[in-house]
């Protein structure tokens, strides 16, 4: 019962946090510098790992589907399968998982530490709302860089699949055929579906990270617990939301 209470408390405070942050939106021109800093930090720190993982996820997907589709005589559809999987599902989900682990955890650690060491209290006494100073720049930044890193991740994943098709002999599909089948069924709507997912996931991850950080109580030990809680909660949220968004967009 306590855990359920705490879950609803967390959900409620996240909604309030989002509301209070966006109430400060008229101050956005004053926080552009911080938004750019956060976008650079979030995008730049996530991009290298997104690049590596996307390439191999695309490659594995091509390899697995190549073996399976060959049995059904449908190996020419490898491109379609890899392309669509990455655009609509794996791209946004994978980038979001990396975002939760890399950026979300760092944000929670930073804000939890600021809370524990009374920096948040200092902001409050200076009448600088933490929502405007700390949360809003991070939320606006993720909305800027999330589609960019998702597109980069998807495209690199496609290339990972192409490399497998080109160089793994038994698949029997060359890169040209692969890209032909990939582009044949890909539409702007499908691409938009993936990007909508990425934006929603990214927003939720940063909101959870900020909320968990700002709700931290106690000493330095709590900072570690807060980070773990933030990442786990983000991962669960991504997967639950994924189902409902997929259903809504279907």
């Amino acid at each position: 019962m306590n855990k359920l209470n705490s879950l609803f408390e967390g959900l409620g405070s996240a909604v309030v946090l989002a509301y209070r942050s966006f109430v400060s939106l008229p101050n956005a021109p004053r926080i552009i510098k911080r938004v750019v800093e956060q976008a650079f930090f979030g995008g730049y720190s996530t991009l290298p790992i997104v690049t590596i993982l996307s390439f191999f996820i695309g490659a594995v997907l091509a390899l697995q589907s190549g073996i399976s589709l060959q049995n059904f005589g449908a190996k020419q559809l490898i491109g379609t399968l890899v392309g669509e999987s990455l655009v609509r599902e794996l791209g946004p989900v994978m980038v979001s998982i990396l975002l939760a682990g890399r950026v979300g955890s760092a944000i929670t650690a930073e804000l939890a530490s600021m809370k524990v060491y009374q920096e948040i209290d200092a902001l409050v006494t200076m009448n600088i709302p933490p929502e405007r100073f700390l949360v809003l720049p991070r939320l606006l930044a993720v909305l800027l860089y999330m589609p960019v890193i998702t597109i980069i991740g998807i495209v690199i994943g496609w290339f990972g699949g192409a490399v497998v098709c080109e160089y793994v002999g038994f698949i029997g599909v060359d890169a040209g055929q692969y890209f032909h089948s990939l582009t044949q069924f890909l539409t702007v709507t499908k691409m938009m579906d993936g990007l909508i997912k990425a934006e929603v996931f990214g927003f939720c991850i940063i909101l959870i990270a900020c909320n968990t950080g700002l709700r931290t109580r106690g000493g330095p030990r709590e900072i570690g617990f807060a980070v773990t809680r933030s990442v786990v909660l983000s991962l669960i949220t991504i997967l639950i939301l994924d189902y409902f968004i997929t259903k809504a967009l279907a």
Partner: protein
């Protein structure tokens, strides 16, 4: 201390008073403050003393609006300090015991944050104001340093300088002279007195520093185990007969019958 641009440009600068009525605070089963009532007059230096763990800092946090009471009320000029609108009307600064400096910002940025965020004046004037506060606290050479590069005493001085830059109407200090050498402690004591005498800043000082309390305090409150034992002037405090207060203000070191043995036995 004041420069051309200041918080006074945007709000009423009349001195601010504080009323605390029947304040109690519980943290789960633990009662930290019990039915505290006091009033701090505008422009007064009000010192809160008491042994460690007596609830002094918690009381200060309530006055700063950082905590909501379990029972009772706290009012700053009749307004609820937890309401952000109240902070819009008064410049209230709190000097935290551990400094609470922003670790990701340099000393200069820490000090400039308030005037910049509230757009009080152009950047050159903010710089002038910040450098002046740093000079008062002998920190001119620390402007570009980060809090992690500072000693405990320097952090405390930066926190006080940050409060001075805010040009507050009410200034709350949590142990302002702890961790400072005697000369810097005396400087801080003088600054608190100057802010009152020249600018009518209301000051509430939580301190263990008896000299500070008796030298510059207009009134002194003694808090023990969450209870308010007395509120009196420094002169009255010197004549007080309550054995707990006398022992707190003038503890005797008795090597033949050490205090810890008595505590252990009880």
């Amino acid at each position: 201390m004041k420069t051309k641009c200041s918080a006074q440009d945007r709000s009423d600068r009349s001195p601010v008073g504080v009323e605390v009525a029947g304040l109690s605070k519980n943290y789960e089963a633990q009662t930290v403050l019990k039915d505290i009532s006091l009033s701090v007059k505008p422009g007064e230096i009000f010192v809160i003393m008491g042994p460690s763990g007596s609830g002094k800092s918690v009381l200060l946090r309530h006055i700063a609006g950082l905590e909501a009471p379990t029972a009772g009320t706290v009012r700053v000029n009749g307004l609820d300090p937890t309401d952000p609108a109240t902070r819009d009307r008064f410049a209230l600064a709190l000097v935290f015991q551990a400094g609470a400096l922003f670790n990701s910002l340099s000393v200069y940025e820490n000090l400039a944050l308030y005037p910049l965020e509230h757009q009080l004046c152009p950047k050159p004037q903010i710089r002038e104001r910040v450098m002046r506060a740093l000079k008062i606290l002998s920190l001119e050479n620390a402007a570009e340093k980060f809090p992690s590069e500072l000693s405990g005493g320097m952090k405390k001085r930066v926190a006080i300088a940050r409060a001075l830059v805010m040009e507050p109407q009410i200034l709350l200090y949590d142990e302002p002279t702890s961790e400072l050498d005697p000369v810097m402690g005396a400087t801080i004591t003088e600054i608190i007195a100057t802010l009152k005498n020249e600018y009518q800043v209301t000051s509430i000082v939580v301190s263990h520093d008896r000299d500070l309390a008796l030298t510059i305090g207009d009134r002194v409150a003694i808090l023990m185990k969450g209870n308010l034992r007395t509120i009196c002037t420094p002169d009255e405090l010197r004549r007080v007969k309550d054995p707990d207060i006398v022992d707190f203000l003038n503890p005797k070191i008795d090597l033949k019958n050490p205090r810890y043995l008595t505590l252990e036995a009880s």
